[in-house]
Amino acid sequence: MDKDELVEYFRTQVRQDPEVPSAVAAIRTLLEFLKRDQTGETILGLRENLTQTIRRLEEADSSVAVSSGGELFLRFISLTSLEHPDLSQCKKVMVERGELFLKKISLSRSKVAKLCHTFIKDGAKILTHSSSRVVLKVLESAAADKKRFTVYVTESQPDSAGRQMADKLQNLNIPVTVVLDAAVGYIMEKVDLVIVGAEGVVESGGIINKIGTYQLAVCSKAHNKPFYVVAESFKFVRLYPLNQQDVPERFKYKADTLKAVEDLAEEHPMIDYTPPSLITLLFTDLGVLTPSAVSDELIKLYL
């Protein structure tokens, strides 16, 4: 299957279903590649092809989620190939398990929402950052549970994603206010809890999310407000940044910017890293985790 066809397939997935997480779309594309691939004769060759495909996908969409989805798929291939050394049988098993995996993770957002909405009490004031579909799902379940709460959303420049979130929340009849990114410190004393999504959850238990999340976390720590993160488990990624500089450049900027611009120092990064010391709890489809439990999960998978 041609690399450009793949990227087209990926883009169509995202276009057709805007609700689908980018990691899931990436994994679906890779599974499609697996089904159509006729050239591979050995498992090593298959892995090579897949690695190249993932790199191509990352060039199309440079978010952390695509990278973590790709790595998870590679890991999945390795684990399955260990059990079935014969290639054709291995491929059959892989395709079966891949479909099953996709079915399971399509349910993960609802699992997360079910866990988290009990933490939202009646009369709560929630602060969230930018636009996250998982947070939207959580707030939707809480509203469906007849809870009354108000939401403050940061505008989240440079793409004003917060305004889209506010529109979606208004459609759900949840009272929402958009605040400036600079007004986070001002509004923090009024809120009861902070809930954000994550583009990636790193090994230390910290998160990579839209720029401005770190600020939010520091402010909430200073005011002693709980800072909750909601993320599905396929977003766990094998990075261990110690500070903002450690986050790889290829995640910080959009794919087009990376290709077009020479000197990245002039560009504004799109994401930042929030260390685990600022996070109270992580809600994932594997349960409610403390940041220290995240590395446990990753170890169980990768080692």
């Binding site: 684990l79 399955t80 995996f101 709890l281 409610v288 403390t290 446990d296 169980k300 998978l301």
Partner: protein, 351 residues
């Protein structure tokens, strides 16, 4: 008929237990320690396993889950009851898996690894019948009971590692575990204990009497003096009612203030709590929801136009705690989630 007799006997015992639970909460019955509560619950669960009618593990789990729900509803603040029910449920799952011959590790927790490698979306139904399951489960419950019996001693055995000569230890109110802990250290070390009396019931006084009988130099202070005295204290050792899933505590009222004072003076805060106090609940921000409210009679004799709140419990966040000493050793608060995953199955967290 002997069968029917056994059943009525069983239901009678369960009803008696539930009535006891309800009474214990309203303050009129004898105040029981959590250790006794845990033991009574486990005895009752063993009796249910032995006498109730069930053919497969699934039935037994359903029965125990129902009884567990009724017990926790009777006295929500007594979390050890729910914890023991969950332990027994986990025992049943393990014995079932062992009887089936599959390795126990794989079935238990959700994990990324399991997501990737699992075969079909198999729902474990526990429907198979095994002849020896009953005997195995009862044996495992007996092991659990032996463990419960030994908890205070196991914790006390670790005392010498943590308490050194000429130290000043502070404790709050009365905890049987801490009392045994300090008494064990007193056999070989000489140290000084400051007990905060813990109004309005002043259980600290009993604690101080108990400690001084063994020859430990004890001082009783009022709750208001805790911060003032804290600068001279080397360690704070306290007990708790429940350990929460995030490593926080639900302890007697006033503990949070002690914890904050200890943090301010950088004094280590050590919690002596046996494993059966570990509960899968996670704290939620509204503190009133986790609280019983006590009768305020000792606090205020004049009750005309005044609203008096007398909460029983306090929440202490995990950041303020240095170490948990339990019957399986010392652990950091960030490790509590791991211990929890070994004790309970995630599906049992909500009974």
């Amino acid at each position: 008929m002997p069968g029917a007799d056994k059943e009525t006997d069983l239901t009678e015992r369960i009803e008696a237990f539930l009535a006891d639970l309800k009474r214990g909460g309203s303050g009129t019955g004898p105040l029981r320690g959590s250790g006794e509560m845990a033991r009574e619950t486990t005895y009752l669960l063993r009796r249910i396993t032995a006498q109730a009618r069930w053919s497969s593990a699934g039935d037994l789990m359903e029965i125990i889950r129902n009884e567990g729900r009724r017990m926790t509803a009777a006295q929500p603040s007594e979390t050890t009851v729910g914890n023991m029910v969950r332990r027994v449920l986990k025992i049943i799952r393990e014995e079932y898996a062992r009887s089936r011959g599959s390795s126990e590790e794989t079935e238990q927790q959700e994990s990324l690894h399991k997501l990737l490698t699992a075969g079909e979306l198999s729902e474990e139904t526990f429907r198979e019948h095994f002849v020896h399951l009953k005997a195995n489960v009862i044996e495992a419950i007996n092991e659990l009971l032996t463990e419960l019996d030994g908890t205070t001693d196991n914790i006390a055995m670790q005392a010498l590692e943590h308490i050194h000569s000429n130290e000043v230890i502070m404790t709050v109110g009365r905890s049987r575990t801490v009392e045994a802990f300090l008494k064990d250290a007193a056999r070989k070390r000489k140290f000084h204990v400051i007990v905060a009396e813990c109004a309005p019931f002043c259980q600290g006084h009993e604690m101080a009497t108990g400690l001084s009988k063994v020859g430990i130099e004890t001082t009783v202070i009022a709750d208001a003096a805790i911060f003032a005295v804290m600068s001279r204290v080397n360690k704070v050792i306290i007990g708790t009612q429940t350990v929460l899933a995030n490593g926080g505590l639900r302890a007697v009222n006033g503990t949070h203030s002690v914890a904050l004072a200890a943090r301010h003076h950088s004094t280590p805060l050590i919690i002596c709590a046996p494993m059966f106090k570990l509960s899968p609940q996670v704290f939620t921000t509204c503190s009133l929801s986790l609280n019983d409210v006590n009768s305020c009679f000792p606090v205020l004799k004049i009750l005309s136009k005044v609203n008096v709140h007398c909460p029983v419990f306090d929440y202490v966040p995990p950041e303020l705690i240095t170490l948990f000493i339990s019957n399986i050793g010392g652990n950091a608060p960030s490790y509590i989630y791991r211990l929890m995953s070994e004790l309970y199955h995630p599906e049992d967290h909500k009974l």
